[in-house]
């Protein structure tokens, strides 16, 4: 009944879920700064949610330490479709300087295909907003594909 409206609302209210897999918190502060008054992601409908069940876009930071590996897999599986995985910073993309360490279990795309990766260590809030804009387009395609 509201197909068109539901399609449009996917662009207008994507909800974020922040998943920290052992990051140095540089990218985490940048994510939170995107919601502060200066950059205000909420004006585009972004909202940080507490549970993966509510999320559309999953922001992954950190080089997936061995402790957080199966927790990452379990939590990512619990996000309902259509979902978009965004890697913030270089660590999830390529385990950055921690490459080859005994307790790092490798880049994120070993476990889940990364839709948008925002490079930068840490990336600038504007870059994150760009990435999120790209994520919204992918979300809309996934939603259309899902129907």
């Amino acid at each position: 009944m509201f197909k068109k409206l539901i399609e449009k609302s996917f662009e207008k209210s994507p909800w974020l879920f922040h998943l920290n897999t052992g990051s140095c918190n540089g990218c985490d502060i940048e994510i939170v700064s995107v919601i502060t008054p200066r950059y205000d992601a909420e004006r585009m409908g972004f909202k940080l949610t507490g549970s993966p069940r509510h999320a559309d876009i999953v922001l992954v930071t950190g080089p997936i330490t061995s402790q957080s590996r199966d927790r990452l897999i379990r939590t990512l599986a619990q996000v309902p479709d259509p979902k978009v995985v965004v890697s913030i910073g270089s660590c999830p993309r390529s385990t950055n300087v921690f490459n080859g360490s005994y307790s790092v279990e490798g880049p994120l795309d070993k476990y889940v295909p990364i839709d948008v990766s925002i490079a930068g260590c840490p990336p600038k809030p504007e870059a994150i907003i760009d990435g999120l804009a790209k994520a919204i387009e992918i979300l809309r395609e996934k939603r259309r594909a899902m129907k």
Binding site: N96, S117, A119
Partner: protein
């Protein structure tokens, strides 16, 4: 029972919000911002300092033997880079420069790869003397010294 910030909250409702509407108004990165790498292959002399100095080791070099010299390509994989710009500082020729371009949000991995190739012509080597000439020179050297 004091309510903090009440006056400030009410005042700020009537003031202009301090949000920068980023996507409409493009924002310039500050001076000296270490963003995307610009690589000038013509300046590079393949000394390898940047490779040794790069902490995450995201700079790789491939050398290919061709007839007029070695075809060297440098790949700066910015997905692994920590943007510390040590490579730019240590490059004797200033071939690497981190620009202010912070738009690094990409959907596929290739865009993060900055690469450049150049042909390194070796300096003209002195003509290669056959093996006996080398022997004679050593004997004359020895005779001269006795």
């Amino acid at each position: 029972m004091k309510f903090p910030y009440l006056k400030e909250a009410i005042k700020s409702v009537f003031k202009k919000p301090s949000t920068e509407i980023y996507p409409k108004v493009n924002k310039e990165a500050p001076e000296g911002y270490r963003g995307k790498i610009n690589y000038y292959p013509e300046k590079c002399v393949n000394c390898g300092m940047c490779i040794r100095v790069c902490a995450p080791g995201c700079i790789t070099r491939t050398i290919e033997k061709t007839e007029e010299g070695d075809k060297i390509t440098f790949n700066f994989y910015q997905g692994q880079c920590t943007f510390c710009s040590l490579c730019a500082d240590f490059c004797p020729r200033g071939a690497i420069e981190l620009t202010k371009n912070y738009h690094l949000a990409v959907t596929d991995e290739k865009d993060l790869l900055v690469s450049g190739t150049f042909i390194k012509k070796l300096p003209p080597k002195p003509p290669v003397q056959p093996q006996q000439q080398v022997q004679n020179q050593q004997n004359q050297g020895a005779a001269k010294t006795e």
